[in-house]
């Protein structure tokens, strides 16, 4: 076990897969010579050379399209889209092509493709560089969606994504790049679709994802002091959704709090709430509660950004209220 930063875990995770499988290639803007604007592809060009790590023009449709074409013909490309907001310029390739090709061709084509991108706010960069568009992807059958919250999960989910035969969109989180954690030295592969229970608890279940896992854990620690025992689930992947894990936990606690960074309207938390309200209704002891980002584009000024993003305090307060309902 070595302690790695989330940022470095990305580069490490990519390198491990590239070492293992020569079919894995990387492409994107400034991913090669520059090592990525986030430095998450640092070292790959040096180690694997220019036939495996490709800088591209600013052409996101071409990046994703090229990755799709390569994936259907024997490679396992990993495409980087620099900011998740830019999925907007290549959304056709992702939602209409990658996601549907296998189905439309009755399995003749498979697209073992990974699209890495970075989402989330907290960097004061404003509305076009801070979104959480995993919710667009959630509504598209055929895509898999992973959102690692720890360095170990970065490595594990990247490995799982690269080895999956489906198109997987991996959302790294800007706010987590500097965070650190232990990463297994040996092969570490996480199957997509397995949530992690980050903390055991009995009074309520908090479901979180990516950067909100930290908020949930901070809140849970705080809640302990107030005699509330919160279970914290890190979904890890939105698709496949580990419904079993959520339902199992919820049936024990009968109280559900969902913490999501994206705007409340149309957020993935609604899907979790709907799932529980439909399938575990008889276990419910209190309203299903969501702490979510406000339904606004993200403002640039940090004070405003903080005001619209969920905070640990908000989670604590909401959880307390919920536990006492």
């Amino acid at each position: 076990m070595a302690e790695l930063s989330y940022r470095y875990a990305v580069a490490e995770g990519l390198a491990r897969e590239m070492r293992r499988d020569p079919a894995v290639v990387v492409l994107g803007e400034d991913v090669a010579a520059a090592g990525g604007v986030w430095k998450t592809t640092q070292g790959l060009l040096d180690e694997f050379g220019p036939e495996r790590v490709w800088d591209t023009p600013i052409s996101e449709q071409a990046i994703v399209g090229a990755a799709i074409g390569a994936a259907m013909t024997g490679l396992r490309p990993i495409a980087e889209i620099m900011y998740a907001d830019f999925l907007g310029v290549c959304w056709d390739q992702i939602a209409n092509q990658a996601a549907k090709l296998r189905y439309m061709t009755a399995g003749q084509l498979t697209v073992p493709l990974v699209i890495r991108t970075i989402h989330g706010g907290g960097v004061a960069k404003g509305a076009q560089h801070s979104q959480s568009p995993e919710n667009w992807a959630l509504a598209v059958p055929g895509l898999r969606v992973a959102c690692p919250s720890t360095p170990a999960d970065v490595v594990g989910l990247l490995a799982g994504a690269v080895r999956a035969d489906d198109p997987v969109v991996v959302f790294e989180h800007k706010g987590l790049l500097g965070s650190k954690g232990e990463v297994p030295d040996d092969e570490h592969v996480l199957e997509l679709g397995r949530a992690a229970v980050r903390r055991r608890g009995t009074d309520l279940t908090i479901v979180a994802l990516s950067a909100t896992v930290r908020l949930a854990l901070e809140a849970a620690a705080e809640l302990e002091g107030q005699d509330v025992s919160a279970e914290v689930i890190d979904l890890r992947t939105l698709v496949p959704l580990d419904a079993g894990c959520v339902l199992e936990s919820f049936k024990r606690t009968s109280r559900l709090l969902i913490v999501e960074e994206n705007p409340r309207q149309g957020g993935w938390g609604a899907q979790i709430a709907a799932l529980v309200a439909e399938e575990a209704f008889w276990y419910l002891d209190a309203p299903i509660t969501r702490v979510a980002g406000e339904s606004v584009p993200l403002p640039a000024a940090r004070g405003l950004e903080n005001a619209v993003l969920p905070s640990a305090d908000q989670v604590t307060e909401t959880a307390l209220k919920l536990a006492r309902t």
Binding site: E51, S59, A62, G69, M72, R102, T105, G107, Q108, L241
Partner: protein, 330 residues
């Protein structure tokens, strides 16, 4: 002597290939008129020479990418016609099990790596197949077909630039049939040739070819494929052609001037090739025999398709994901 592999037989075979497609498309149109066909269909009648000429220049390691107007490409590639009909007829034996439909005919076995119904979307994907062929060193070339109207969409630009910059083994073949749906391409561009005139923007070699002349198409594509295989990068070809039918289904193409139709129909690829065979000394009766033979083939294929079963409900839940199913939750 002809272009192609240099024999009269070669040309006669290409004629048969084109006739096969024409028959397929005429039947498709009729089925549509009769209400037998559901959904939509974009007939490629009139554009057979592009598909057939190009295909004859390709080998087993090459890839073809097509559009919603794809019937000619899959048939030219050798996909069983009964399975093509079956796909249009929503049968279980269809190339895509009835899940793709007329716009998405695909036969990976025959190198057809999908037909794409969002205009231009296949161009970046074709780049990827070419890129992959390069990396894996297969010597394969990716050929992407697209319409004149597709040259105005962003994906075209990005794909052509990437192919040029990466020197990919790709050939881009524009089937310029003068119209994008009901709109003359001339009103959507400010240049004369929608594809050819754009090639310099990518520093890409380009040529205009008579898309109704199967020999000319074959020669141009063969040259481009050779260049790609030699590592000399992509080529952009613009094949001038014309559709016999409207844009799709039963569109009567009222927006096309009569004179224009007459001129083009007189230069129908089948007429052109028949004339050429005649010049080469092939007797008309032999060509008629080909017509009949091919006609029977196609009719039998239709018959087979018509007998085929419909898809089963379970098929709808298969193949969303590689594991085989539709499991979005675990």
């Amino acid at each position: 002597m002809t272009a192609g592999n240099g024999t009269v037989q070669w040309l006669h075979d290409r004629y048969a290939d084109m006739r096969r497609i024409r028959r397929f498309e005429d039947i498709t149109y009729t089925l549509f008129r009769r209400g037998t066909l559901d959904g939509t269909a974009h007939m490629a009648a009139g554009q057979e020479a592009v598909a057939v000429g190009a295909r004859a220049a390709l080998g087993a390691d090459d890839y073809v990418f097509s559009t919603y107007r794809c019937h000619h490409h899959v048939i030219a590639a050798g996909a069983p016609m009964d399975r093509c009909f079956a796909e249009l007829l929503q049968r279980r034996t269809g190339l895509c099990g009835g899940k793709g439909g007329s716009m998405h005919l695909t036969s990976v076995e025959h190198g057809v790596m999908g037909s794409y119904a969002i205009v231009g979307s296949q161009l970046p994907i074709a780049c990827g197949a070419a890129w992959s062929a390069h990396i894996r060193g297969t010597g394969g070339v990716a050929v992407a077909f697209f319409g004149d109207g597709a040259t105005n969409i962003g994906a075209f630009h990005e794909a052509l630039n990437l192919a040029a910059v990466w020197r990919l083994p790709a050939v881009f073949v524009c089937e310029n049939n003068l119209y994008a749906e009901f709109t003359a391409i001339a009103t959507s561009i400010n240049v004369e040739h929608p594809a050819y005139d754009r090639a310099p923007a990518y520093g890409m070699p380009a040529a205009i070819v008579d898309g109704n002349d199967v020999e000319a198409v074959h020669e141009a594509v063969a040259t481009a494929v050779g260049r790609a295989r030699d590592g000399d990068g992509p080529t952009l070809l613009e094949a001038k052609t014309y559709r016999r039918y409207g844009h799709s289904r039963i569109d009567p193409a009222d927006y096309r001037p009569d004179e224009e139709e007459e001129t083009w129909f007189a230069r129908d690829p089948l007429t052109v090739t028949r004339r050429r065979l005649d010049e080469l000394g092939v007797e008309a009766s032999r060509v008629d025999e080909t017509d009949e033979r091919v006609g029977r083939e196609v009719d039998e294929a239709l018959e087979t398709a018509m007998q085929a079963p419909e898809p089963e409900v379970g098929d709808a839940f298969a193949d969303v994901y590689a594991e085989g199913g539709a499991g979005w939750r675990s």
